[in-house]
Chain length 483, copies 2
């Protein structure tokens, strides 16, 4: 459709023809041997012209978006502690956090239900998953709340219960904190909706051995610089969402001497090191809260059109935007397109689920795929598509990361800070790499692939921005407008 010719190749030839939009004119000219330069232009999303005009005219927007970019790209993350959710999040018995925007049991998908059922058994609130399901359906004394409402992010179902241990991350410059549970590994695991005895046993071991071991090691080390690992892993083929191999190894290298020195026995140390070393996604649960710290730093800037959260609960895909406070703009979560494990196929896949799209929100994951060409073996597609995915995201972001660089793009910073107005103007949706959970509760992981948000949430967010932009200057600065 569009020319493969590098623009520079045309600079010496006159006259030049620049074609814009659909390829008909471009192809016709090229068939007549007329050199052209094609611009990949798309019309704005339908019905958004008035809102776009209003938001783009908001005089606060340029400075607000600059500030958001500065805050996102200058956020830094240290792992400062590992502790139970009851302690650091104040969760009480019967309180559960989950991924994505708010949802109740009735509308919850299979993997979200499966994870909640498993967590009920793990917490001793039910003897069997079936009993758990009945109690969850009855509601009453069970409380569900999004992770994002508690400075927390959770991959896939993202269920957090009081006895689970959490990574505690802190921005050393601001003191801001973010939390994430410990990664269980792949396959039959709670976050993918599995709840069998092996899942519950692993969670118990994680709470009695892994968590406490990590806590003593992290405290002995006086913290671990997670931002430094993020910067390095992008030069080592990771994108921080579906590929965390280098990150996990770099973390293990940091932790191991302290784990050995503080372990109760050599066997205990070896067991913990084997568990972490056997899970190439272990670092995901540190990259996510680091991304959360970055995105949260850009919240609540009046007039700012930058997305500060993208999250899915398996039913709805929701975004939050800096200039519109805690409002969720939601639409139906899509089924990812990708590669499947074993005999699983597209019919087994649940729609998109998890808070892990916080990585894309902060310039990682699908936005950093060019740094991780080998990821196509896990999520599908060709290498040139992975590189093109990153390149295309510069069109919908306000700037580039300083911390996260893509070597193959000449160390260009990853596209960072999704701008609602640019998404609406171009129709280009954020690229997200993601795992796929089985849609039947109890199944676990069935594959991994690529997915986009539902398009309509961006015009909806734009309309809310437009409504606020229409108010007279000064009306946005009160605390009410920030909530």
């Amino acid at each position: 459709m569009t020319s493969e010719l590098p623009l520079q190749g045309l600079l010496g030839a006159e006259p030049r023809v620049v074609t814009v939009g659909i390829g008909l004119l471009d192809s016709a000219l090229r068939a007549q041997a007329v050199p052209t330069a094609a611009l990949d232009w798309h019309p704005p999303m339908p019905g958004t012209a008035a809102d776009l005009a209003r938001v783009l005219a908001d005089p606060r927007r340029p400075a607000a978006n600059d500030l958001a970019l500065t805050k996102i790209t200058s956020a830094r993350a240290r792992l400062v502690d590992v502790a139970p959710a009851a302690e650091v999040l104040g969760l009480g018995s019967g309180q559960f956090l989950h991924a994505g925007p708010p949802i109740d049991w009735e509308r919850a998908s299979g993997p979200m239900r499966g994870a909640l059922m498993g967590a009920m058994v793990f917490e001793g609130l039910a003897d069997t998953p079936e009993q758990a399901a009945a109690r969850l359906a009855a509601g009453g004394d069970i409380d569900l709340d999004p992770c994002h409402h508690h400075a927390t992010v959770g991959p896939m179902a993202g269920v957090v219960s009081p006895s689970m241990w959490m990574f505690v991350l802190e921005d050393p410059n601001t003191g801001q904190r973010a939390f994430c549970s410990l990664n269980e590994g792949l396959g039959k695991v709670l976050r993918y909706g599995a709840y069998g005895p092996e899942v519950i046993d692993r969670l118990r071991w994680m709470s009695t051995v892994l968590g406490p071991s990590l806590k003593t090691a992290v405290r002995r080390l006086d913290g671990v610089d997670i931002s430094a690992i993020l910067a390095q892993m992008l030069a080592m083929g990771d994108e921080g969402h579906n590929r965390n191999r280098a990150g996990s190894l770099l973390l293990l290298r940091e932790l191991t001497p302290a784990l050995i020195e503080t372990a109760t026995s050599a066997e205990a140390a070896a067991e913990v090191v084997r568990f972490i070393g056997g899970n190439e996604h272990f670092f995901l649960n540190l990259g996510m809260p680091a991304a959360k710290l970055a995105a949260d730093a850009a919240r609540d800037i009046p007039g700012c059109t930058v997305v500060v959260a993208m999250a899915r609960n398996g039913t709805d895909f929701g975004i939050q935007v800096s200039g519109t406070g805690d409002t969720w703009f939601t639409g139906p979560a899509q089924v990812p397109d990708g590669l499947f494990l074993g005999d699983f196929g597209p019919e087994d896949a649940n729609p998109d689920i998890g808070d892990s799209a916080i990585t894309e929100t902060a310039g990682m994951g699908g936005f950093a795929m060019a740094a991780a060409p080998a990821i196509v073996k896990f999520v599908g597609g060709a290498v040139h598509e992975a590189i093109a995915a990153t390149e295309s995201m510069y069109a919908i972001t306000v700037g580039e990361s300083r911390l996260l660089q893509v070597p193959v793009l000449g160390f260009r910073g990853t596209p960072t800070g999704i701008d609602v107005t640019r998404v609406v103007r171009t129709g280009l949706l954020p690229h997200i790499n993601t795992g796929m959970a089985g849609k039947v509760a109890g199944t676990g992981q069935v594959g991994a692939g690529l997915v986009n948000p539902p398009a309509q949430i961006f015009p909806a967010a734009l309309a809310a921005l437009a409504a606020r932009a229409a108010q007279p200057p000064g009306a946005q600065t009160g605390p009410g407008a920030l909530g």
Copy 2:
């Protein structure tokens, strides 16, 4: 000089002009808006026409080179033991191995002399480096021999003495073995020609703690699959010569649980893990003997024009070729072009030194730079040059690796098996990434960069191949021709 236009862009246009060689015709046509496809052709090296004709006409050559490629690309490496050189190489007191082709003290460069002096002190054959130098200069009871003559490779000076511990690698399919010393880290280290007390102390700790610890761990693991690590590290931004970050982390992950379980104390285990974890080049000394196993598998094939060793002693650069047995073709080692540490500059650098070019010989290092774009921060140059370096090496190699793939080139295997005839026909010299030693004995590392072999060694090897090709059929198959 040559067109940037992709060839495919021209297939629909008639007439087509294909230009070959120097760019004058090509530029003139393009200035008149005539589409051209330029071939990057170079004349053969001067004076080689007759030898080229003779060798290219050798009827054994195609099958011989196919066999060499098969042997190189199907070789596999396991780390099966760690043991002193005295034990596995049979080195006695006063015997030293060194990198590169044969050399004596008289012609040895500063870093080679420095490493030998340090090794003398380490072995208790001299009390001071000065005493060691005097004894080495006197000769007599001191014996120097290339590593390559003992199935061994050594980075930089590559000095091996009887008390040093060696990695023992084995090809599980052939039982063939190769050996390499343990990596000391960077900066002031023996292999870069430093010999101060801290160098000798570190070597003592490596022989009394590190080596024995690795031995028990490797034996408990029943070996470590080095080929699997090589395959993975190329998808993680390593090229296996100057960038071994991922390889070192992957190795550490394999070893750590066994190191913990077999350690005499938690402190000892933590010390060993810290040492390995603190050295991002630790894996180099495993990748090199793995490459040695691959290259050695292709030795002594009659009529074969494939290079089976490239090695430098700091004075001479030498190659060995499959079809010409153990003959070294040597020329003056060049000074690398690259980046310098601290206040060092080009005037401080010794000419090219080390057996580490065995990695390029087996399709890694400079031949795999496209897999490791971040290496330009260490050796200099731009990312597109790193990618171009790998791409250009396909012109001088007989085929592609099956084990080693470059994600950014669509998982194409690395260019593998340097063909003397192709080097001579194209004038393209192998790209080598390398460390730079200070030229004054005792200095240590001063930088890292890129270097080529001296061009004349390839016509010399070609002449020797031509001399053998001229003999009547059957004359090459006796054992005498293989030696």
